[in-house]
């Protein structure tokens, strides 16, 4: 096991896959000569050259469509959208071309591409650089959506996404690129479907994904030490499809659920997970499930307002205490 950063894990997955298959390429703004805004493609330009590590013009719709077109012929492009906010400009191609081409061609064409993007609110980046857009991507037929919460997942999910014949959107987080964690020394493929139990528990299930897994883990620690509540933390690294069986299994065990997301409500992972709980194990519930989410506002610049707009582990603790009638 190597203890490496999230960005290093992503870089390593790129490097291994590009060394293995000459049709794996990567493209995006500043990913080549500059090495990538978050260093996720560092050193690849020098190693694989400009034909395979493409510094693109700032034309998100254009270069995303270009990568998708190349994938029709078996090229496996890893397309980096520097910020998920810029992905709005590429969504026509991602949704109308990549996600639908297999279906509307009756299975003849497929778009095996990977879209990687940094989402989430960082520090005071304002309304147009702080978006969470999971809820938009997870509702698209034909598109897989995964979101790594640690370096191991960041490495293994990217490896699997490159190999998979379906288009995959990988939602990363601006605040997580320097997070350290254990990654297997040998080649490792994280499943694109399912969920991970990040911490086992018996009294309540805390569902999180990406950065909110860390709020849940911190909350579970506090709940255990200060309140004697045993919380299970389920990491929903696959947002599309969501792990119906995993959600059912955990809630059937704990009988209570809190879903924590950085995305805003209404519409999102929280509402979807609650719908699944209702469909799969409603009568197992001891209390109505609760969601913890951001306020529905364009992200404010002011530090205090920004902090108020986004939840954290304390909000998760509060939600759990409310479930137990302790708040």
């Amino acid at each position: 096991m190597a203890n490496i950063m999230y960005w290093e894990a992503i870089q390593r997955a790129h490097d291994e896959e590009m060394a293995r298959d000459p049709l794996v390429i990567c493209m995006g703004e500043d990913i080549g000569v500059a090495g990538g805004t978050y260093k996720a493609t560092k050193g690849l330009y020098e190693k694989y050259g400009p034909l395979r590590v493409m510094d693109t013009p700032i034309s998100e719709g254009g270069f995303t469509g270009l990568g998708i077109g190349a994938s029709f012929l078996g090229v496996r492009p890893i397309i980096e959208l520097m910020s998920v906010n810029f992905a709005w400009l590429a969504m026509d191609q991602m949704f109308n071309s990549a996600a639908k081409v297999r279906y509307m061609s009756g299975g003849q064409l497929t778009a095996p591409c990977v879209f990687r993007s940094a989402g989430g609110a960082a520090h005071q980046l304002g309304a147009q650089h702080s978006a969470r857009m999971e809820k938009v991507f997870m509702g698209i037929a034909g598109l897989r959506v995964v979101t790594p919460s640690n370096p191991k997942q960041a490495y293994g999910l990217l490896k699997s996404a490159i190999r998979c014949d379906d288009p995959v959107f990988i939602n990363e987080h601006e605040l997580m690129y320097n997070m350290k964690g254990e990654v297997p020394d040998g080649e490792y493929f994280h499943p694109l479907e399912g969920s991970d139990i990040a911490r086992a528990g018996t009294d309540v299930t805390l569902f999180g994904y990406n950065i909110s897994v860390h709020w849940c883990l911190k909350a579970a620690e506090i709940l255990d030490k200060q309140y004697g509540i045993s919380a299970e933390v389920v990491d929903l690294y696959s947002l599309s499809p969501l792990d119906r069986a995993g959600i059912k299994a955990s809630v059937s065990k704990t009988h209570r659920a809190v879903i924590a997301e950085e995305d805003e409500a209404p519409v999102g992972v929280g509402s979807e997970v609650i719908a699944i709980i209702n469909e799969e194990c409603f009568f197992e519930l001891d209390a109505a499930p609760v969601r913890v989410h951001s306020a529905l506002v364009p992200q404010p610049y002011n530090h205090t307002l920004e902090k108020a707009a986004i939840p954290d582990h304390e909000d998760v603790v509060k939600a759990v205490l409310k479930l137990f009638g302790k708040a």
């Binding site: 000459p22 034909l51 077109g69 190349a70 109308n96 061609s105 009756g106 299975g107 379906d166 499943p191």
Partner: protein, 333 residues
């Protein structure tokens, strides 16, 4: 063009025209649903360019007015009509419809219904060709109105920057849905807009197939020789409305008649008659023969083919699950 080729292409163009007219009839009979965009009037564009290219070898992509492009690349007219009928035997197994005809084996990469959407896809196909080192080219057929989308400019810039083997064919039929080019576009002659990107561009008459063919030969040679992209604008006209719900109230019948004086099929037919290679009786026989083929084979096949099974509703959303299990479950060998 050689006489034999012209005679063969005339036969194809008559098939293309009669096929489209038969679609019109089937739509009126409610055998075909959805939107239907027909090609009559523009036949010399697709045929002239593809005579200069290599159908089935070069990759072709286009918009929603796509039936004839698919057939010209080698798609079976029966499969194309069955697609319009929504049948399992259709070129997209009934899942695509008129605007989404595909034939992967013939390298017809599809019809797309977002105006301008195929521009970057075509450049991507060219990028794949460049990476793989083949002698194919990508050919992108779109209308003039697509050039008002942002991706037109984004794609031209990238295609020129990376010297991609892609030929952009602009079929300038003077209307974007129901708005004339004068009312939507500051520059009527589209090839002028391309000059800004250092891409060689040419414009010619899109009604005379021999003119199109000569211009396309130069264009195809340029791209296939590794010189990067090329833009060819063909001045043409669609006889019917944008789609079936269009009553053509935005243009005069006189204008339509004027264009019909320069019908691409009649221009070729009359030239062959003048050259002594064809008689009017031959031509009339060809029309009858074509109609009989469409009725007895194409329509019959489409009528008799089965519907897709409802159980297969979700088939083709994702790749076959069994083949993807190592990545979906993480249990890679």
């Amino acid at each position: 063009m050689k006489i034999e080729d012209k005679k063969r292409v005339l036969r194809e163009m008559v098939l293309h025209r009669r096929f489209e007219e038969r679609c019109y009839q089937a739509y009126i009979e409610r055998k075909i649903g959805g939107f239907l965009h027909l090609y009559p009037g523009q036949e010399a564009c697709c045929n002239g360019v593809m005579e200069a290219a290599r159908p089935g070898h070069d990759y072709v992509i286009t918009g929603y007015r796509d039936h004839v492009h698919a057939i010209k690349c080698g798609a079976d007219p029966k499969a194309v009509m069955a697609e319009l009928y929504g049948k399992e035997t259709g070129s997209s197994k009934g899942r695509g419809g008129s605007m989404h005809i595909f034939d992967g084996d013939k390298r017809f990469m599809g019809g797309y219904a977002l105006v301008g959407g195929p521009f970057p896809l075509a450049a991507g196909i060219a990028k794949a060709i460049q990476l793989k080192g083949g002698d194919e080219i990508a050919i992108c057929f779109l209308g003039d109105a697509a050039n008002n989308q942002g991706v037109f400019h984004e794609t031209l810039n990238m295609a020129a920057l990376w010297k991609l083997p892609v030929l952009f064919v602009c079929e300038n039929n003077l209307y974007g849905i129901g708005t004339s080019i004068e009312r939507s576009t500051a520059v009527i002659h589209q090839h002028k807009r391309v000059a800004a990107y250092n891409i060689p561009a040419d414009e010619c008459d899109g009604q005379d197939i021999e003119v199109v063919y000569e211009a396309a030969r130069k264009a195809v040679d340029h791209v296939r020789s590794g010189n990067g992209p090329y833009f060819l604008e063909l001045m043409t006209y669609r006889y019917r409305g944008h789609s079936m719900s269009d009553s053509r109230g935005y243009r005069s019948r006189e204008e339509e008649e004027l264009w019909k004086q320069r019908d691409p099929i009649f221009i070729l037919r009359d030239r062959l008659i003048k050259e002594g290679a064809l008689t009017m009786a031959d031509y009339e026989a060809l029309e009858k023969e074509t109609d009989a083929y469409i009725e007895n084979e194409v329509i019959k096949f489409s009528e008799e083919s089965p519907e897709p099974r409802v159980e297969d509703l979700e088939k083709y959303v994702f790749a076959d699950r069994e083949t993807q299990l190592p990545w979906l479950t993480g249990k890679a060998a």
